[in-house]
Structure formats: structure tokens, C-alpha cells
């Protein structure tokens, strides 16, 4: 009898049930989308924060002092110790290599440019632009294009490919990224925009550096010291100072976790368990420690300007989204409660009839709760699907990447849906049950 009452109720009041179902679906969809966005926003914003550039720098352990003012290096070029370029792919083998977005080695050397009677000392920075490296079976690409996203290059497309702005996707300026950038294995260079203006050079021009003829593939604009410098493939810089394999700095851009009390502790004073927890958390400190482990004779340090601030920004944005999600859950709860209350209140006459036929309070509320449960399940399932689509859409349109929905979210969402529906129905069911059947059947006693 009980299932039949529930079944008939759905069959005969399909319109009203549909309305309540829609309310639950929408409420759950909003809740799902918000929870999915909020759980993923940390990762997404962390990636966006990488546009501030590298947050770690690796230097030789016995490094000499930098003597550099306003981007001009005053140190003799062969002075100092170096890291070995051959060690760099090992960065891909650290515990947190998935968190390392990219790295770029640099080797500054001083060169003379210009005519023989009017030459000028200029810093030439050797680096990777977008180089393919191998570690084990993995191939990966890294270089300044990844670690220094604010660098912009204007140049002709050397291989005759015209820039195709029409095909550029929003936020991903592909044509700008591929045109004018030198190849890592070539004798092509970038010239900083102020230096280029001083020398009156343009993309495609040739330039003589340290007895070698090189081609300017593009003009570099960074808003920093590089505007007065030449940026060249690393191999070229190594050749100029006659030290193959030499690297003086490695800039590493890594996704990190905001620091907490554990992060800043000295690993030497930790117990093995604490050490393991520290080592296996992507703190900027532990990533620095792991970089030191894989690159011999190196010292890795966080670039505090970038590393210290991203934690604050990240936690602010995460906190904000958390609170907004709370607001969304609250609003969904209200909407579901309102829909359920309305649909139950309208069925007083039915309650009166059931009670007149001898149904107890328990039986009546059981019927209503069973109906609510069924509605919540259907609405929760539909809402989860709609919410997942919504989150997907938000991720695609805002962050240009997928917002992943953890499968574990599904039972949680379903539970939330049931809870919301029950909570929303409870007050209305209680009032419906308390109703005097006589009044209900006479159609009186509202309110």
C-alpha cells in the first residue's frame, strides 16, 4: 500500500512534483557547480599566479657576489663558479616535478656590440627559450616562454608563416608566442627594445657578437633589465665565454602551497615523520630542498617577492570562494525548502483524508518523507549533472582549462540534496500532520 500511495502521488500530481523537482535540481546544480569551482580555484589561481614568473632560483653553492647595477653586470665574465647544464633535466625527476611548471637557466656574459671604433659593452643573457629536454622516457619543454610569460617578442615569422590573429584563442596569444622567438639550437638572438632602438636594429638584421655573425629574430620587451640586453640561446653564451655546459642561475617556476608553521621549520631538526610530511608537501621550502638534492653543488632559494606574496593572494581568493560557496549552499537550501513547503502545504486535504481513514502521524509523515527522498534523489542526480556541466563551462570560459569534478563529490552532493529536501520539508510536514482532519476536509483553517 505504501509504495502505491507514493507512486500514485507522483502520477497524479506530476506537475506539482515537477516544479519541486526543478527547484531541487536547480538548487543542487548551483551547489555542485560552486563546490566544484571552490575546490579547484586554488589550483587554478595558483597557475595564474605563475604569470608572476619564477618563485625559486638555483645558484652555485660557492657563488661569488653579484656586482650588478640596473641590469648591467660589472663582474668579469669568467669569474665565479657554475652549475652544470647536464644536471638540469634532473629537475624533472624530483618528487614534486608535476608541480614544477617550468625552469630556465641563465648565463649572463658581457659582449661588445657595434662597429669596431664605437663598440659598447652589453650583457648577453644565454637561456632556453622553449627547449625540449629528456629525462628518462619523458620529453618535456621548458624555457623563458613558460617561466617569464610577460616577455613579449615582436618579430617577423622567419619561416614565412604569417601571423594569424584570427585563430588566436582568447587568453592564449599563440601567434605572438611563435613569431620572432629564436630557435634554441640556432644562432638567432633577441634584442631588448631599448638596446635595439640605440643600435637602430630591426628583426631580420644581422649583428656581430664576439666574432660571430648572428641574426636578430625579434625585439624583446619585458619592462625590466632585459630591455637593455641581448637574449640568446644558452649554447651561444657558453661558446662566447668558452665554457660548454656552464649555467650560472636556474629560475624555477613551481606551484606551491601557502606556507604554514611546518613550512618554515628547519628540516634538520625534524623527526622522521614530520620530515616526511614536510618533504611531501609542495611548500616552496621543500621544493627548494629537493632541487638542491638533484643538482650537485647548488643552493636553491625562494624568490621572496614572488613566493611570499602568492600565498597571501591565494588564501584570500580561496577564502572568498569558500564563503561564496557557503552563500550558494544557503541560497539553494532556501530554494529547495520553499519549493517543498509549498508543495506539501497544498496537500492538507489529502492529509485529512488519510487521517480520517485511520492513518497515524507516523504513517503520514513517512509518506511525505519517502516522496521527498525520491524527489531529492532524482533532483540530486539531475542537479549533479547540470552542475558538473556548469562548472565545466565556468572552467572553460574563465580559466581556459577543465575544472575537474572529483567522483567523491557525487555521494556528497546526493547527501546534501537529501538533507536539504528533508530540512526544507520537515517544518511543512510537521504542520501538515498536526492538522485537524475535520477542518482539512471541510477546506477550512488555513494559515
Amino acid at each position: 500500500m505504501f509504495p502505491r500511495i507514493v507512486y500514485e502521488s507522483f502520477r497524479h500530481q506530476s506537475r506539482r512534483k515537477l516544479l519541486a523537482g526543478i527547484a531541487i535540481t536547480l538548487g543542487v546544480a548551483v551547489a555542485t557547480a560552486m563546490i566544484a569551482v571552490a575546490t579547484d580555484i586554488g589550483d587554478k589561481i595558483n597557475r595564474e599566479l605563475r604569470s608572476y614568473g619564477a618563485n625559486l632560483v638555483v645558484t652555485p653553492q660557492e657563488d661569488t657576489l653579484d656586482v650588478e647595477v640596473g641590469g648591467v653586470n660589472l663582474k668579469p665574465p669568467s669569474d665565479g663558479t657554475f652549475l652544470n647544464e647536464a644536471d638540469l633535466p634532473k629537475i624533472h625527476g624530483t618528487f614534486w616535478h608535476n608541480n614544477i611548471v617550468g625552469f630556465s637557466p641563465t648565463l649572463p656574459v658581457t659582449v661588445k656590440v657595434g662597429t669596431s671604433n664605437n663598440s659598447e659593452d652589453v650583457t648577453l643573457l644565454g637561456t632556453y627559450f622553449n627547449k625540449t629536454l629528456h629525462f628518462g622516457k619523458d620529453d618535456f619543454r621548458t624555457g623563458v616562454k613558460i617561466t617569464h610569460p610577460w616577455w613579449s617578442v615582436t618579430g617577423s615569422c622567419g619561416d614565412g608563416r604569417p601571423a594569424r590573429p584570427g585563430q588566436v584563442r582568447a587568453g592564449q596569444d599563440e601567434s605572438r608566442q611563435s613569431c620572432g622567438w629564436p630557435n634554441d639550437d640556432s644562432q638567432e638572438i633577441l634584442v631588448g627594445q631599448r638596446l635595439a632602438a640605440n643600435l637602430n636594429k630591426h628583426p631580420g638584421d644581422r649583428l656581430e657578437i664576439a666574432g660571430q655573425e648572428v641574426t636578430i629574430s625579434g625585439i624583446l620587451s619585458t619592462g625590466g633589465a632585459e630591455d637593455d640586453q641581448i637574449v640568446a640561446p644558452l649554447a651561444l653564451a657558453q661558446q662566447i665565454i668558452g665554457r660548454p655546459g656552464a649555467v650560472s642561475r636556474v629560475y624555477v617556476s613551481a606551484l606551491t602551497k601557502p606556507p604554514d608553521a611546518l613550512a618554515t621549520r628547519d628540516p634538520k631538526t625534524m623527526t622522521p615523520e614530520v620530515y616526511e610530511r614536510w618533504y611531501c608537501s609542495p611548500y616552496v621550502e621543500s621544493i627548494a630542498y629537493q632541487l638542491q638534492e638533484v643538482i650537485p653543488h647548488s643552493h636553491a632559494e625562494q624568490i621572496r617577492q614572488v613566493a611570499q606574496n602568492e600565498g597571501t593572494v591565494l588564501s584570500r581568493i580561496k577564502g572568498l570562494m569558500f564563503l561564496v560557496t557557503f552563500g550558494a549552499l544557503f541560497a539553494s537550501a532556501l530554494a529547495v525548502a520553499a519549493a517543498m513547503a509549498t508543495s506539501i502545504f497544498e496537500r492538507r486535504v489529502e492529509v485529512g483524508l488519510m487521517k480520517a481513514l485511520g492513518a497515524g502521524n507516523f504513517a503520514v509523515s513517512a509518506i511525505f518523507f519517502a516522496e521527498a527522498l525520491l524527489l531529492a534523489m532524482i533532483g540530486g542526480l539531475a542537479g549533479f549533472t547540470v552542475g558538473a556541466l556548469l562548472a565545466h563551462q565556468i572552467g572553460r570560459s574563465i580559466f581556459n582549462s577543465q575544472i575537474s569534478i572529483q567522483p567523491v563529490l557525487f555521494p556528497i552532493i546526493l547527501a546534501i540534496a537529501v538533507l536539504l529536501t528533508f530540512a526544507g520539508s520537515a517544518a511543512a510536514i510537521r504542520r501538515a500532520v498536526k492538522f485537524d482532519p475535520v477542518f482539512a476536509l471541510r477546506g477550512e483553517g488555513q494559515g
Binding site: 632560483v57 619592462g223 556548469l390
Partner: protein, 389 residues
């Protein structure tokens, strides 16, 4: 109304005729509105509660959306200077450059002078010495990890790497610049992970006494939007014609990037939340109006025109919307302020500019939820409703 039966028929007819000619008595209209609220206070309260909560949620969301930009921009200023002013070769920056920069109208800004010289240590090594205003530098570069800021004369802030090269056991040391020597005590250690680690920082006046080098670089943190920063750059160009003024692209582009993404996410979320809240009001109010179909039928049976009934329910909904919006706005502003305190450790300023939107939205949703059921009901005969079918 219950006295109507005892009145002579002619009088009743007169009244009806008058009522048909002129508008119904205004006081009666208000009385009906008030009685509806008082007699069914439970359902009225439920509808009002839904209205208030929805308006509160909407207000909080809009307030946050409007305010979050400003809040995040303050956070982003912790990344330091976004404009750098460098003296071109030739004349140094004027002495009052800092005062001039900071007095430019418009955006709030903080300017810090830096001057650089390459000095020699006793064993003949080169080291970069910088002069700056410590109070300002401390405000600008909050990420600097400094063990102690110098206060006394001849005290220096020494970078980690410079320290290990110049004075490994933190003893006082001597530096020479163009034959002039200075004796310094390293009181504080500086750690940044960047170029500053290889430098020694002195107070600006002391640095100038020693080297005669005036500030060559001014780092400026301009608060505000990209447009504000660009406007400030143009202003600086007029004040300091001899200087090279560059925006720090690394900082500005990344900031714009993160800010836009955050705003877009918040916008999407706020829209979803506000829509859900509106849905809640719609469901509650529609139920409420539907529930009162007897009132509706009685009013019509007593001869009220469709326009009057519509007007009555619309007025009721509008009143509910207005009251709900006012209370909801107050609560919402409170919530937004609380969020500002909890999340940003700074109060969110109540944006009264949001109120008209909340008010219009509340009244609009209330009207829709009142008019929709009326539209359905008007097709029914009052008699059928009164018979309870």
C-alpha cells in the same frame, strides 16, 4: 462589510454605483493590505523571510563583487613597485623628486628612492652598496626578510650573500669608494632570494655623505587600476622630463591576469547565487498567492474588477519586495562586512549604490511571483474556487 446586510437596499445600490464610478476607497485598500498581513502572519512572515534572505544574499554578493577588486589590489601592492623611474644618463633626478611624485593628484602611491655605487672591501672585492630610505623601503618591499632594520648611523643592512663574502662572522667592516672609506656595522641581515641579497643597504643621507651619489632610481607603488597606473605614468613624465619611466610589466600583467580571473569567477558565482535566491522567492511567493485563491474569489464575487484584484495583489507583492529589500540590504551589508573582516582583514565599505538594484530586483521578482498565479486564477470562476475544487 458585515453591516452591509442590514442596510436598506437602496443605500447598497447607491454605494455600488458610487464604487463603480469612482475609485474604491483608498483607506479600504490599505486596510485590506494590512489585514492580509496581520491575519495570515505566519505565511506572510514566511514569504517576507524568504524575501529578506534572498535580498540579503544578493546584497552581500553584489557588495563583495564591487569591493573585491579594491581589496585584492591592496593585496597585490604587496608585490612591490609597479612603476620604476630611472635617471637617464646625464642629469640626476631632482632632490624633490619623491615629494613631487607623491604629491601628484589621483591614485595613492608610495615612492622609494634608491642609489647605487660599487665599493671595494678591504680585500679588494667589489660589492654593490645601495642607499635608500629604510622606512619607505620597509613599507614597499614587505617580502624582504630582515632580521633588524638599521636605525643608528653607520649601521647597515647587509644581504645574505654579501654578508658571507664581506663579513662572514658579522664583524664591523670597512668599505672604500673613490678613496673615501666608511666604517659600517652589519646590524640586520636581508634575505630576498634576488639581487638584493648581494648588496649592502645604507641610509640615503649617509650614503650621499660618503659617495656623493644622488638617487638614480625611484621605485613607485601606485594603487589602483591599470588605467590609474598609466595615468600616473603620464603625470610622472610631465614632472620628471629627464627620467625614464617604465611600468613593471611582470607585476602589472600578472596582477591584471589574476584579478580578471578572480572577478570573472566571482561574477559567475554571484549570478548563480542571486538566481537561486530569486528562485526561492518565486517559489515561496507563488505558493502564498496561490494559497489565497479564496480571497481572490471572494473579492471577485463581491464585485471587484480584475484590475482592482491585480492591483491589490501587485501592491501587496511590491510592499513585500520593498520591506524585504530594506531588511535584506541591511543584513547583506552586515554579511559582506563580516566577510571582509574575516577574509581580507579590512572592512568592506557598504556600497549604497547596490541598493537600487536590490530594491528593483526584489520588487520585480515579487511582482512576477504575484502576477503569474493571478494570471492562472483569472481563468477560473470564483464559484469553483469557493466550492473548493
Amino acid at each position: 462589510m458585515n453591516t452591509a446586510g442590514t442596510l436598506p437596499t437602496k443605500q447598497v445600490a447607491d454605494r455600488r454605483a458610487r464604487a463603480a464610478r469612482t475609485a474604491p476607497s483608498v483607506s479600504m485598500f490599505w486596510r485590506m493590505l494590512l489585514r492580509a498581513a496581520v491575519l495570515r502572519r505566519r505565511r506572510a512572515a514566511a514569504a517576507l523571510l524568504a524575501m529578506v534572505l534572498a535580498a540579503a544574499v544578493a546584497t552581500a554578493m553584489m557588495n563583495l563583487y564591487v569591493d573585491v577588486q579594491a581589496k585584492l589590489r591592496t593585496e597585490f601592492r604587496n608585490y612591490g613597485a609597479n612603476v620604476i623611474i630611472v635617471a637617464k644618463d646625464g642629469p640626476p633626478l631632482p632632490d624633490d623628486a619623491i615629494a613631487k611624485i607623491e604629491s601628484t593628484p589621483g591614485a595613492k602611491m608610495l615612492a622609494v628612492p634608491f642609489s647605487y655605487a660599487v665599493a671595494r672591501t678591504q680585500d679588494g672585492r667589489s660589492v654593490v652598496v645601495a642607499g635608500t630610505d629604510f622606512t619607505r623601503a620597509r613599507q614597499l618591499n614587505r617580502w624582504w626578510k630582515v632580521s633588524r632594520w638599521p636605525v643608528e648611523p653607520n649601521e647597515a643592512l647587509i644581504g645574505m650573500r654579501a654578508a658571507s663574502a664581506v663579513t662572514p662572522n658579522r664583524q664591523p667592516f670597512e668599505l672604500t669608494f673613490e678613496g673615501k672609506a666608511i666604517h659600517l656595522t652589519p646590524v640586520g641581515m636581508l634575505q630576498t632570494g634576488a639581487g638584493e641579497d648581494s648588496r649592502i643597504y645604507l641610509d640615503q643621507s649617509e650614503f650621499e655623505n660618503w659617495t656623493d651619489v644622488a638617487p638614480s632610481t625611484i621605485e613607485v607603488a601606485v594603487s589602483g587600476t591599470t588605467a590609474d597606473v598609466e595615468k600616473s605614468i603620464r603625470q610622472f613624465e610631465q614632472i620628471l622630463p629627464g627620467a625614464d619611466i617604465r611600468p613593471v610589466r611582470q607585476i602589472m600583467e600578472a596582477e591584471a591576469n589574476v584579478l580578471n580571473k578572480t572577478r570573472a569567477t566571482l561574477y559567475a558565482s554571484a549570478t548563480l547565487v542571486i538566481l537561486t535566491a530569486a528562485l526561492c522567492v518565486l517559489a515561496t511567493l507563488m505558493g502564498w498567492v496561490f494559497d489565497r485563491r479564496r480571497d481572490f474569489a471572494i473579492m471577485k464575487a463581491l464585485g471587484a474588477s480584475q484590475r482592482l484584484v491585480n492591483g491589490f495583489f501587485a501592491a501587496e507583492a511590491a510592499a513585500l519586495g520593498v520591506v524585504g529589500a530594506i531588511f535584506g540590504f541591511l543584513i547583506g551589508v552586515g554579511v559582506a562586512m563580516w566577510i571582509g573582516r574575516v577574509n581580507f582583514h579590512a572592512p568592506v565599505v557598504p556600497r549604497f549604490s547596490v541598493f537600487p538594484y536590490v530594491l528593483a530586483g526584489s520588487v520585480g521578482v515579487a511582482l512576477i511571483s504575484a502576477i503569474l498565479p493571478i494570471g492562472l486564477l483569472r481563468r477560473l470562476q470564483p464559484a469553483i474556487i469557493l466550492r473548493g475544487e
